[in-house]
């Protein structure tokens, strides 16, 4: 089998092209379904957020909202001080999960507006707030720059 330089180059370009095309295809497929949208509690409450879509919400754990249920299930509310979204989660909460602390929850909204979280994140470092939470609080105008631990946590509105 005699191959010219041109054929070799074509084969190389073809291979690279095929792998790239496969990668681009996979990326596009993943982008259409596997991307998590980030929403603030206000956006979820005020705007129409489609249920069933994978979402990530960030805010503060509303003080007085944490209720422990049987079998390790926990209910709490995530607030950006203007609006709060009820969240349910089964599993172990991070060590730094506390009322009034910043938190990020990932999961889906159900028909009743309850957020079914499968992941709850808090930071490793108690001095640091998740950027998404800071953004949410800034949007509400309750964030003060340079304040360690963020603004005073709001209390539950029942």
């Amino acid at each position: 089998m005699v191959m010219t330089r041109k054929t070799r180059r074509l084969i190389l370009i073809g291979t690279v092209g095929a792998v790239l095309a496969a990668a681009v295809g996979l990326v596009l497929f993943a982008l259409s379904g596997e991307i998590t949208l980030y929403k603030t509690p206000t956006e979820i409450v005020e705007k129409h957020v489609t249920e069933g879509r994978r979402l990530r919400i960030g805010g503060l754990v509303e003080v007085g909202s944490v209720i422990r249920q049987d079998g390790g299930r926990v209910e709490f509310k995530v607030t950006d001080t203007a609006n709060a979204v009820p969240v349910t989660y089964t599993g172990l909460l991070p060590d730094l999960f506390k009322e009034g602390q910043g938190v990020v929850a990932e999961g889906k909204l159900d028909q009743t507006g309850l957020f079914q979280a499968d992941t709850v994140l808090a930071k490793h470092d108690e001095r640091y707030m998740p950027k998404e939470v800071v953004d949410a609080l800034k949007a509400q105008g309750v964030w003060e720059e340079g304040q360690p631990g963020g603004p005073k946590p709001p209390t539950a509105k029942n």
């Binding site: 089998m1 191959m3 330089r5 070799r8 084969i11 190389l12 291979t15 690279v16 792998v19 790239l20 496969a22 990668a23 996979l26 990326v27 497929f29 993943a30 982008l31 379904g33 596997e34 991307i35 998590t36 949208l37 980030y38 929403k39 994978r54 990530r56 422990r68 249920q69 049987d70 079998g71 390790g72 089964t90 599993g91 172990l92 909460l93 060590d95 730094l96 999960f97 990020v104 990932e106 994140l121 930071k123 490793h124 470092d125 108690e126 001095r127 640091y128 998740p130 950027k131 998404e132 953004d135």
Partner: protein
Amino acid sequence: MIVEFGHFALILALAVAVAQSILPIVGFFRRDPALMAVAPKASLMQLLLVAIAFSALTYAYLVSDFSLVNVVENSHSEKPLIFKISGVWGNHEGSMLLWVLILALFGAAVAVFGGNLPQTLKANVLAVQGWISTAFLAFILTTSNPFHRLAEPAMEGNDLNPVLQDVGLAIHPPLLYLGYVGFSIAFAFAIAALIEGRIDAAWARWVRPWVLAAWIFLTAGIAMGSYWAYYELGWGGFWFWDPVENASLMPWLVGTALLHSAVVMEKREALKVWTILLAILAFSLSLLGTFLVRSGVLTSVHAFATDPTRGVFILAILCLFIGGGFAMFAVRAGTLRQGGLFAPLSREGALVLNNVFLTVAAGVVLFGTLVPLIVSAFGGAISVGAPYFNTVFGPLFGATLLVVPFGPLLAWKRGNLLGALERLWAVFAFAALIGLGIAWLNGATHLLAAVGLGGAVWVLVGAFAELWSRARFRQVGLAVGFRRLAGLPRSAFGTALAHAGLGVTLLGIVSTSAFQSEAILEMKPGDTATVGGYSVTFDGVRNGAGPNYTEQVVSMTVRQGGTVQFIVEPTRRFYTTRQMPTTEAGIRTHGLSQFYVTLGGEGRQTGSLVVRMWDKPLVTLIWLGALAMMAGGALSLTDRRLRVGAPKPARQVAPVIVAD
């Protein structure tokens, strides 16, 4: 006084770095050996000065010098000794100092061990190292100085973040930095080659040990980080596709590609331009990793004490080196002559395919990591997590793994795919049998796992096909076969071991993901629960105290079929200084599997706790595979081909080998 001494040494190191950046290059262009000879001396001097600075900071931590801002914020007089030492780099300033120390260490290593390098290349390589040192020393001194004093010393420190008070901190960052920074040598070699406009097989031979060493450390750093996150975070997972993790994976992927393309260049003088590009890319991604970790632009669960204002400085360094590197590449790459030709089906062809897959895989990880930034620049907000990466990276890397066994079986220049297939069919049959067996045992629910395990066996066993076929056991018999094996270069064993490591890791990942059993429930003393064939009894809670924390140790007896197997003791700690709770998972290794118990908060009933338990079959293989990869790399590093003077033919050097 000692602290001021260290501070002064750091400033001097910057001055030396500036000299090291300029003089050797001037010497190169003026053909002045005296100026070029400055480079090795300057890099040794720099190591000495940075080491003094680092020791001074370590001393301040050891004696708890609370007149230093950095010590006050990150240490405590009652902190155990090991964490006083590792705490030096458990914060932004100290970790940057460690970064520069390792950079100086690599520079000095080139100066000392690069005895057989041509003087011009050595001078240029060390000058480029000098540029990097200058940038980072300036960064430390202007924005992140660990030697700042307080006007009024504090009485006590704020303690180190409890999550970091673990041996993991003593090991993981230094290993990771050795990997990241190690690629700076490859970068310096690439830029030096572009400056000189000359590159040949000898270049690849000089640069390969450095790339290999960096790769081994990076592999170790990533594996160690993964295991640390696994046992410390209590999520029971080993990889979260967090931006910071991706930041270390990308240079690893490109570094792996570089490792392989350098082989082609060394053996066949082909892929020169591509290898240079990979060298620049690997270090660029390392810098990007440093930037992502240090700046906090992306939300990460592993990022500590980040500061966006300082991130801008690193971003500037990043743009300078990446932009400069690529600009230089664009201008000068044309001057490099292309080397040997090869057929698509050949060892070279296989290595090119490996490179294509690895760089494309690195590309999709880069895209997934940065796309939230791009979207947020346009006002949107998304997060890209495990689902994206599993969907995109999984198939790409899976395809890469499947072709791994073929590579070493193909000959250089023109390979024989049919011959390779002939030698691999038995491995394939064995792997398929394992896959089918698992599918048959577990039914249709675990089809993916069956495919994954079959694939893992294929990679694992296939890795040894080259050794097997080179020994020719079947043709020459056992005794001669073993003699033939003993005569093979160590790099052949290194390749086999490293490739087998991939299979081992894959085996661990697939079996843990598919076959782990899990339970989340509330338990109080006396309760018994079942997890995957084990019954777990909550025996009780006892209180204890460590040097800077109080703890509640939960004792649980794990039984299988009525007989006691082992006791696990997950623990909740409370660090008094920071008022911060942590959970230490209770982990017991049995065979290659692990039983993992972690604790949540209090349950609904009084005295009960929320408990999460896993039985993770073969989970340790994930990290044992990484160990095998590192061992394979180390074995290749001892290959005499890399130890002997590169340009000299083997015949002349042989007596030296015999002598040692």
